[in-house]
Subunit: 374 residues, 2 copies
Amino acid sequence: MTRIADLPTPSLLLDRARLDRNLTRMAERMRALGVDLKPHLKTAKSAEIARRATAGFSGGITVSTLAEAAYFADAGFRDITYAVGIVPPKLEESAALMRRGVALRLVTDHPAMAHAVGEQGRRLGLRFCLLIEIDTGSGRAGLDPESPLLIDAARSIVEGGSELAGVLTHAGHSYGAKGPEELRKVAEQERTGVVRAAARLRDAGFPIKRVSAGSTPTAAFAAHLDGVTDTRPGIYMFGDLMQAAIGSCAVEDIAVSVLASVIGAYPERNQVLIDAGSLALSADRNANGRWSDVGNGWVLDEAGRRMEGIFVERVHQEHGFVTARAPLPFERLQPGTRVRILPNHACITAAAYDRYHVLEGGEVVAEWERVNGW
Amino acid sequence: MTRIADLPTPSLLLDRARLDRNLTRMAERMRALGVDLKPHLKTAKSAEIARRATAGFSGGITVSTLAEAAYFADAGFRDITYAVGIVPPKLEESAALMRRGVALRLVTDHPAMAHAVGEQGRRLGLRFCLLIEIDTGSGRAGLDPESPLLIDAARSIVEGGSELAGVLTHAGHSYGAKGPEELRKVAEQERTGVVRAAARLRDAGFPIKRVSAGSTPTAAFAAHLDGVTDTRPGIYMFGDLMQAAIGSCAVEDIAVSVLASVIGAYPERNQVLIDAGSLALSADRNANGRWSDVGNGWVLDEAGRRMEGIFVERVHQEHGFVTARAPLPFERLQPGTRVRILPNHACITAAAYDRYHVLEGGEVVAEWERVNGW
């Protein structure tokens, strides 16, 4: 049995009990709300985790890159939504996945793209399957539910020779909501927007089966999901300081942390250096807009207990600068000591690692691979 | 011959002519200043580039992780400085490298660590070789040149049974300097500090051969390097927007860029989406403290020409939000169009990729691997 003390630093730790609890909570919630769960694997990027997250559902998953799609296809997944706007140069790779038996769903919000996808499909000898992306307030991608282009896009898909699979939205602005009341409002805005888009398309004669919504905060706070067929949350599996700050998980739910070593101690400036910097923790500091003294992450001891008030104030490439407003307990932070860092944004932090060291009862019980890159 | 148009997006591009020019400029400068160049490979992480960067010098290199050290050892490098404070759990891996014939130099600033390293060396049956890290103003790691601990550290190294190889400093605060005048001052502060530490050690009876200094900005601006034996700049190979903002390279010197595809166009909010987000560009926005309208990077066209005033305002995991203060030229930014992004901080951006697509005259002439992780 590997002990945490035997792992190299920095390493990515995954607490299996917390992961399982997070998966169960979301699964039960989606079952109670009567929708399929097609979890977004952009955070976990792991077949082991995907199998656990889809247990009891249709087996459909969501990905953010075609590299993920290929990896999960290798692992046996056959219903994959690639939820980033498609452009023609990615269609050959998409076609290769479809030829392997993957029901690949692509996303667009642009009639011209829908048309181009159809053309490429004819050239490649297959029929792509498209979802129309709907903007329910995030201001990222998608058509407004009331946009006249919505019907044009559907027409371009069908007349272009592709299959229209449905509509899809992601209420990314849920990350900006303050408190449960606002989150419930954003969730309802997401639901009504995508359901309205589906209704308009149906009224225009397009049969719309799939109505897909969801971010972790909205999935966690939606009062009901009437009219929605599936959700695609991802970060709920791990949680992070940003999700805790939003209120979509508790700090005690955060399942991933970065194991690091203290490599220097500087009492004269109340500072400790660790060997986890910008690459090991990521430069993403998104929870700092919500909470103070987060920096690049909170410091835990090797066993995972919070060292109250201690945080990574800033980072260089391979150095993290640890401090606190109170004097640091230097006796517990001698060079060579191991600590853990709770990340701001688990999706970005995890992407620096090719594997998870899976913990159970303080022991390392497994190593699970991840897929990275494009 | 692969064309840029055939590459998947996002991809990491490396302009060979610019790289070579950057390498030549630094090599000539270090030769003129009479010092060895032991370049820091934390940015490039590539054996191809390391060979070019060390041509005409001793062949010594600097790394930021033991994974890099092992990779460069595989590639035949035999003089490697691991320039991050050593802690005992990393000594077995270090010893394995030494047994393969690598002259591995480790770094410490702590008498107790120096002692522990010696003890481990005895246990492992070899003699580690240590440099004492000196803080010449960066406030990261290192002992003050006047610190009484300096002599203690040297004594702990020698009495502990390790070899004392010399002193090393990194004036990381050069990144905060404003203008050539201040940069020359920081460079001189770095030089005098590390030379003073060496002199104190020599006065105390320790023969100090190696006196190692250098960051890219100080190496670029030092008026002279008397008393210094080698420098360890890294980012000069590529440059980036931060280095351009500091003044240690020109924008036209930046050798790396991220190839991305436009995946959505939204004239109503003067916004274009690209498929390069936080993972492809990194969340590091360090040039924004210097220049406005940098965001997560400047936008170039596919051929590498600057699209004046257009930048990646913000990022999600796989989405970049492109905008400008003036109306965007949407006719040149249709979905499917390719653009390139100049990064804020090349070290961090490059770490998301396992290879460089090397460009010459607009063609992709080679693929060079990178080593990532720990």
